[in-house]
């Protein structure tokens, strides 16, 4: 009886968003009377950072400080339409919609400022610090706040913008079946080192090393946060989580947190991450978003590492001690595959 070390590798080519009958998201941007900007979305922030990233994108596009941008994702009854926060689509689809809405609002902002400064809007630029100035003449300027006040109380105009980003429906070619359901892919490669106890069948993940290519990391700390948490969930899916019944029948399956297995804070795995930034052409400022891909490659890498450690090929999840022990018995014991 022994503990066997195993190493497994997996890589992933991951589509951003989906395409059944088209994949749209909308955004609306408007200024308040004091020159702050509100981004209205129906895209829900589940903790993945939708509000932070769309706020950054709106700030960048409008040319105003990020502190002056607010994101409201409150209500799909009253907000503009969004397909939803799933399929790793949020940053890409919603971010693009926000860029379009903010671009229109920026144009109106510059036109209102142009009227106050008695210049052409094409000659104006923002400094990102709350001011609008004549290009090449920073002294000739007006604040965003004063522009908003003038627009709404004097000029009688709104500073607002509408944006939609749509990946249109992709029909299958009748001859070849070929279609283009996705415009943007993210990528990752991941190595798992683990130990398998051939007496108990217990797997202990020792270390994860990964490289993720997610376009530009629009908010590097949020990307890292998602990658760490997502990989943990991948470990959990691979080794622990199931709603399938225990013995003797389904009545004995897990029905609450007491019986639903998940790794806890004592099972934290060292995870070294390299984020490769390769901005995508059709993505907002190049950012694709990590999304579900954080968890996915962990599962096949663990399955491969278990095979590498003891020669048991598990093709159903989770890879429980029972499955490993049954495999070991079938094989007549552990068959370490060794390093290649």
């Amino acid at each position: 009886m022994a503990v066997h070390h195993g190493r497994g590798f997996a890589c992933i080519n991951y589509p951003i968003g989906m395409n059944l009958g088209g994949d749209p998201s909308q955004a609306l941007v408007h200024s308040t009377p004091d020159g702050k900007f509100m981004v209205t979305l129906s895209s829900i922030d589940l903790g993945q950072g939708m509000k932070s990233v769309t706020r950054q994108i709106a700030s960048e596009t409008l040319g105003v400080p990020v502190e002056d941008v607010y994101v409201d994702t409150a209500d799909s009854d009253t907000g503009p339409h969004c397909m939803g926060s799933f399929a790793s689509r949020g940053t890409h689809r919603v971010g693009n919609a926000v860029i379009r809405a903010a671009t229109e609002a920026r144009q109106q902002l510059l036109e209102a400022a142009a009227e106050e400064l008695e210049v052409s809007a094409a000659d104006l630029d923002t400094d990102g610090a709350g001011n609008i100035h004549v290009k090449g003449a920073p002294g000739r300027s007006i604040t965003v706040a004063d522009t908003a006040i003038a627009a709404q109380f004097k000029q009688g105009r709104t500073l607002s913008g509408r944006g939609i980003f749509l990946i249109p429906p992709s029909e299958a070619d009748p001859d070849t079946g070929e279609m283009t359901p996705v415009s943007c892919f993210a990528h990752a490669a991941l190595v798992v080192d683990l130990e398998v106890d051939d007496e108990t069948g217990v797997v202990e993940v020792k270390e994860i090393n990964s490289a993720y290519e997610v376009g530009r990391a629009l908010n590097p700390k949020l990307v890292e946060q998602q990658l760490i948490g997502g990989a943990w969930m991948g470990v959990s899916h691979a080794l622990y989580e199931t709603t399938e019944p225990y013995y003797p029948d389904r009545e004995h399956g897990p029905q609450d947190f007491n019986h639903y297995l998940m790794p806890g804070p004592a099972e934290v795995v060292t995870h070294n991450i390299a984020v490769l930034e390769r901005p995508a052409e059709d993505a907002p400022y190049g950012g694709k978003g990590p999304g579900e891909m954080c968890a996915n490659p962990v599962l096949p890498a663990i399955a491969n590492a278990v095979y590498n450690a003891v020669g048991v090929r598990c093709d159903t999840l989770p890879i429980t001690p029972e499955k490993i022990l049954r495999g070991l018995r079938e094989n007549g014991g552990a068959k370490p595959q060794g390093r290649r």
Partner: protein, 160 residues
Amino acid sequence: MEKTALNFTLNGAETGVFVDAGANLLDVLRRGVGDQTPKYGCGQGSCGACSVLIDGELHLSCLTLAETVAGKSVETTAGLAGGPELHALQKAFIDGFAAQCGYCTPGMLMAARALLDSNPNPSRDDVAEAISGNICRCTGYEPIIDAILAAASGSGRRFG
């Protein structure tokens, strides 16, 4: 159903509320008093989202009979900050990106507070054990453990 008066201290303030016989502390805090920082997760003591301190000790408020806190001191996440000044743990959680959806965060903060009150210089294993009764679905625990260690070492604040 007849209600009885319950008096206790909540985050340092004298608090009185009428409670149903057999009411649990979590319901009384959230619905009776209006402190919604303790969260309802599982209602059976498995997830830790409802964690509060009673006379300085960590308890699961969903499993605590409300009437048992009569005359005692109850502390929740709502009392962590001192006015506008955040608690070192709150700063460390923010700086260390130790929350995603945030649902487990109040329970994590109370478990961490209980730990640091009794052990100001915990090891990594001490921290893991202290939050082992708290389930987090988003973070993978590592950022939370790092944040608690940062708060303990006084290195929690990087800006602001």
